[in-house]
């Protein structure tokens, strides 16, 4: 469920990102993950380069989950989202 269940999906960002760019959870009117991120990037242009690479694909070590499920389309983020979905942008966990 979205944060207050008003029908719009909510986009949240990992706390690891907040060190550089404070981004509060945002409710957005969107049909896909790509659209959701585009709305957030419009108000915070610098954030785009933290999440996407130069070609607009998801960065290699960044993951996006929709209701806890990894998105399938990392290149174009065309995965669809429904009302009240939770979209979460998270850094990939790597060994070492």
């Amino acid at each position: 469920m979205g944060q207050d269940g008003n029908g719009m999906p909510t986009v949240s960002f990992t706390s690891a990102l907040q060190r550089f760019l404070p981004v509060p959870p945002t409710q957005v009117d969107c049909a896909t993950v790509s659209e959701a991120l585009a709305v957030v990037f419009a108000s915070r242009p610098t954030l785009r380069g933290y999440v996407l690479d130069d070609q607009g694909a998801l960065r290699r070590h960044v993951n996006v989950f929709v209701n806890g499920e990894l998105v399938r389309d990392r290149a174009r983020l065309s995965d669809t989202v429904d009302a009240n979905d939770d979209i979460y942008v998270f850094q990939a966990l790597t060994g070492g």
Binding site: A16, L17, F20, T46, G49, Y50, V51, D53, D54, Q55, R59, R60, H61, V62, Q91, A92
Partner: protein, 140 residues
Amino acid sequence: VAEQVGRLRKEVNEMTDRLHVGTRKGLFEIVRDNGTWDVADARFLGEPVTAVLADGDRLYAALDLGHFGTKLWRRDGSDEWPELPAPAFPPKPEDAGDDPHPWSLGKIWQIEPGGVDGRLWIGTCRADCSAPTMVVTPGR
């Protein structure tokens, strides 16, 4: 003349008494005072600083944030560090399909003054560390 020499000597001493050191764990400003070097300031603690340029009163720092890519910051006389747009690859052309390397910035390994206001030369490599190259980017 003595006053001018004194001022010049002071400026030279200030230039040679200050080091900016980029490390895997942050950017350090090291200052010599009465013959003793000491860390005067530290920024970006815990982050890899891959290149530094001191250009007049401006200081540029390139960081490799790992998960979130390579970024560029600038301090311009004050204590503020606004982020600058990092160099970026253009959209990959249709006919570049057989290029095995990613069209995405990897690291910044050198920053040099561009010779005119508004320009920097920046040494980069691609996201797979291939194809080192120099690009020009808006700076000052």
